[in-house]
């Protein structure tokens, strides 16, 4: 009995030693990969930051109004945000490669899935960013045009444009990463349809007078109003 126990313990010990002997080099390789990844990510971040400074992306972002939203969300400048994102995406990639080297059963499949998802996440972030910039630019253009032409409720018009573009961008981004694809499309259709229907009802029925005034102003009074102000030049 005693011999069996000792043999079992010795077998377990030898298995453990064998396992450690197999695992330690892998762990070492993983650490090396993670460290190399850290270095590569840092170099890439520095290069991207320099390139973006040269291309004056921050000024472009400021002009388009995207920087104001970043500040509101307590985020850094566009250049900093993109270079930091590249750093984390690169390093995360190396960390995942490192973990896969460990050969832990079950993790391999999850890591492959994550790798497949990375490009989609990147595209989704890009869609959100472009949506943000476009929404901000077009809503501001509409606000200025409406205010200068003296239309009623310019902010409502501006926010409507912003909302529609945001909704479109968010639904496109979610569809890109494959989050509840059917639900997102259905939700977007319902929200967008309801919004447009509500606008039509509000403008056509609730604001019948406003609609009449709006059409009259545009179709009949535009020329007269133009001459109410003295010739500027």
């Amino acid at each position: 009995m005693k011999e069996v126990v000792i043999q079992g313990l010795s077998q377990a010990y030898s298995n453990l030693v064998h396992m450690f002997a197999e695992f330690l080099p892998r762990l070492l390789v993983m650490l090396v990969i993670v460290l190399v990844g850290l270095l590569v990510a840092y170099v890439l971040k520095t290069i991207l930051r320099a390139v973006l400074h040269v291309t004056r992306l921050d000024r472009l972002s400021e002009e388009a109004g995207a920087s104001r939203f970043l500040r509101m969300a307590a985020l850094p400048s566009m250049t900093e945000l993109l270079s930091r994102s590249l750093f984390w995406v690169t390093w995360s990639g190396f960390i995942l490669i490192g973990i896969s080297v460990l050969g832990v059963a079950g993790l391999q499949e999850q890591i492959s899935r994550l790798f497949l998802l990375l490009p989609a996440i990147f595209v989704a972030i890009l869609i959100l960013f472009l949506g943000l910039v476009t929404a901000n630019f077009l809503s501001r253009a509409a606000l200025l045009a409406a205010v200068n032409a003296g239309y009623p409720s310019p902010k409502l018009l501006s926010w409507s444009i912003r909302f529609v573009i945001w909704a479109l961008a968010v639904s496109m981004a979610l569809e890109q990463v494959g989050v509840a694809r059917q639900t997102v499309i259905a939700a977007f259709s319902i929200v967008f349809g309801a919004f447009m229907f509500g606008m039509a009802l509000a403008f056509g029925l609730g604001g019948k007078e406003l609609a009449r005034e709006f059409l009259e102003r545009n179709l009949t009074e535009k020329k007269r109003e133009k001459h109410e102000e003295p010739q500027p030049l």
Partner: protein, 423 residues
């Protein structure tokens, strides 16, 4: 002959058949069949009466007219040739017509004119608008003569103005340009002006013809180019100007986008030149340097004030990103004041404009949007002007205008400070 390649073959052929000239009269046109004949008659008469020995060419550059403007140009010129009596030029007055594009653009029209002037080695050129219905032969001669005989490089026109007309020029463009560039040219944005062949060649060499600011209003850019190159500028009093109904000009929003947008762009591209300038100098002026007529009814003021007030309130976040905190607070305060006691002080107006110019330079938001955000504030200033000058004499209004000009000059260091500040 820096850039003749963009000219069409047929146009080049016509130019080469003319050879060299002394004078060039450019007439940009777009659907001006109803007034072109009269314009041509005045131009022809002016050349025959005042420049008997000079070689001259009349150049029509058309922006794709749908009516018969171009055909009319050729036909009416033939009729003038056949029917002319009295003093005539000893030389042939050549006529050339070309279509620079299928849609009108002042910048493209001027580009063709300066390229032709450069190719033909013209010494003096003038641009004449066919929308001016009271053009006389003396106008053409008065814009050409200072360039041809007195060696000026840019001659701006001066018109008799109704007291409620041209307020954008009087309250913003003239005083701001005078303070910044140091030359007292009153009519930077006009449809008639004269320039030398030397200035034409310098302008042709600049790679800016694709810029929206130059495409929309090239005349002020040309004047500022002349000032920046230390060329000689002047102005000639032409009298009252009457535009045809088809040429009443843009509305207030479009006018500000075109002129103020163009002016801010000129500040940006010529900053090396004006940052070191101080004070202003009068330019050679032929005739009185201003004349205000007291006719014209004051426009409706209620709507102008309402648009100012709603603009200040609706555009609050946009104005906050353009203006200094203190300036923005002052504007918000006057927007809340009683309309009968409303006063937009010259000091505040100048400060506002300088902050807009600096924000344009720092591109705090899209530049076209920034210029559009000025429209409500201009309306506030306009309302204040109309309220205070309902019964003022021409002299009193001119005195006020001079005070405003001096305020612009006094605050110029503030513009430089904001312009050069790091953001």
């Amino acid at each position: 002959m820096a850039e003749e390649s963009f000219l069409a073959d047929d146009f080049l052929r016509q130019l080469m058949s003319v050879g060299e000239v002394d004078l060039l009269v450019g007439i940009p046109s777009y659907n001006n069949a109803s007034t072109l004949a009269q314009t041509l008659q005045s131009v022809e008469a002016s050349l025959r009466q005042n420049f008997v020995r000079e070689r001259a060419v009349i150049l029509n550059v058309d922006g794709g007219s749908a009516d018969e403007t171009r055909q009319l140009f050729v036909q009416s010129a033939e009729r003038i040739d056949a029917g002319h009596k009295g003093l005539t030029s000893l030389r042939t007055v050549h006529r050339i017509s070309c279509e620079y594009d299928k849609s009108p653009s002042q910048g493209l029209a001027l580009h063709s004119i300066v390229a032709a002037a450069d190719l033909l080695r013209a010494r003096a050129c003038v641009v004449i608008s066919p929308t001016t219905t009271n053009l006389t032969p003396s106008w053409v001669a008065n814009l050409l003569r200072p360039v041809y005989r007195q060696g000026l490089d840019f001659v701006a026109p001066l018109y008799v103005r109704s007291r409620f007309q041209g307020l954008l020029a009087r309250d913003l463009l003239y005083p701001m340009c005078r303070a910044i560039f140091g030359q007292r040219i009153r009519e930077l944005y006009s449809e008639e002006w004269g320039f030398s062949g030397r200035l034409a060649s310098q302008c042709l060499e600049k790679d800016v013809w694709h810029e929206e600011a130059v495409r929309a209003r090239p005349e002020a850019w040309m004047a500022i180019t002349a000032i920046s190159a230390d060329l000689k500028c002047g102005q000639y009093f032409l009298g009252p100007k009457t535009a045809s109904p088809t040429g009443t000009g843009p509305d207030i929003v479009e006018a500000i986008r075109q002129t103020v947008g163009n002016f801010f762009w000129c500040l940006e591209t010529n900053q090396a030149n004006w940052l070191s300038r101080s004070n202003s100098q009068p330019v050679p002026t032929f005739g009185p340097d201003h004349e205000l007529s007291l006719d014209g009814i004051p426009p409706s003021q209620e709507k102008i004030f309402d648009l100012f007030r709603s603009g200040v309130s609706e555009l609050e976040p946009i104005l906050a990103s353009i203006l200094a905190q203190d300036t923005h607070a002052q504007i918000k305060a006057i927007a809340l004041s009683d309309r009968s006691n409303f006063h937009f002080a010259p000091e505040l107006w100048v400060k506002t404009l300088y902050e807009f110019a600096a924000s344009y330079h720092h591109a705090v938001l899209n530049r076209d949007h920034l210029v559009q955000a000025l429209v409500p504030l201009y309306r506030g200033r306009l309302y204040s002007f109309l309220l205070e000058n309902a019964n003022s004499s021409a002299e009193a209004m001119e005195t006020q205008s001079e005070i405003l000009c001096q305020e612009f000059e006094r605050q110029k260091p503030y513009l430089i400070e904001r312009w050069t500040a790091k953001r």
